[in-house]
Symmetry: C2
Subunit: 121 residues, 2 copies
C-alpha cells in the first residue's frame, strides 16, 4: 500500500497555533496541507472518502457526486495524495482511497483555539 | 469593533467532514477559510495573533517577525480579515488584531477524524 505520511508535517502540527507562534518551517509544511484543502472539490472528495463505509472509497464511489470528468477527479485525488491527506491502493481494476486519520487529527489539534468558547465582541 | 464573523461558513463547519459528506455549498465556504490559511506568512500571522498576550496583537507586534515590507504584511492581514479568521480594530495609531476563536474551533471540529487514533497501514 502506498505510504505517504508526511511525518515532518505531522511534527509541525502538534501544538495549537494559538499556544505558541508557528516557526517558519512549520508554517510552510502546514500551509501545504491547507492548500490541498483550499478547493471545494478536494474538500468534498476528502469528506466522501473519510465518511464512506469502512473509511475507504473506490474512485468508482466518488465520480457520481460530481459533474466533472474522470481526469479532473483524478487530478484532485492526486493533489490530495501528494499532500499526504489520503492514500491510494490499487486492487484489481480500481484504486481505493483512505484518509490518514493522523493527519486530520493533527490539523484539528493545531486549530484548537486558546480559549474555546470565548466570544470576542 | 469590526465584526466579520462568517456565520454561513461557521454553520458549514459544525459536523466533522469524516462523519457526513460535505455539501457543495459547505465545501465552497470551508475552502475559502482553508485558502486564507494556505500561505505560510498568513499562518504565522494567525499564530502570532492567536498566541499573543491577551489574544490581541498590534500590527507593530507582527512586522518584526518577518523580512517583509509593511504593505506585504498588510495585504496578508487583509486576506485573513476578509476570510473572517481575524478582526481588526483601529485604536489611535495602530490596528489591533484578534482571532475569532469560534471560527478556529469550528474548523478544528470539522477536521476531527471519524476514529481518532486509528492508524491505517
Amino acid at each position: 500500500m502506498s505510504k505517504q505520511l508526511p511525518l515532518a508535517a505531522m511534527d509541525a502540527c502538534c501544538a495549537p497555533l494559538a499556544r505558541d507562534p508557528l516557526t517558519a518551517e512549520q508554517a510552510v509544511e502546514l500551509s501545504q496541507l491547507f492548500k490541498a484543502m483550499a478547493d471545494p472539490v478536494r474538500l468534498r472528495l476528502l469528506s466522501l472518502i473519510a465518511s464512506h463505509a469502512g473509511g475507504e472509497a473506490c474512485v468508482c464511489d466518488l465520480t457520481d457526486a460530481f459533474e466533472l470528468t474522470g481526469p479532473t477527479i483524478s487530478h484532485h485525488l492526486k493533489v490530495l495524495r501528494a499532500s499526504g491527506l489520503i492514500t491510494g491502493e490499487r486492487r484489481g481494476t480500481w484504486v481505493y482511497y483512505r484518509v490518514h486519520p493522523e493527519v486530520l487529527a493533527r490539523l484539528s489539534a493545531v486549530l484548537v483555539p486558546a480559549e474555546p468558547g470565548v466570544v470576542t465582541t
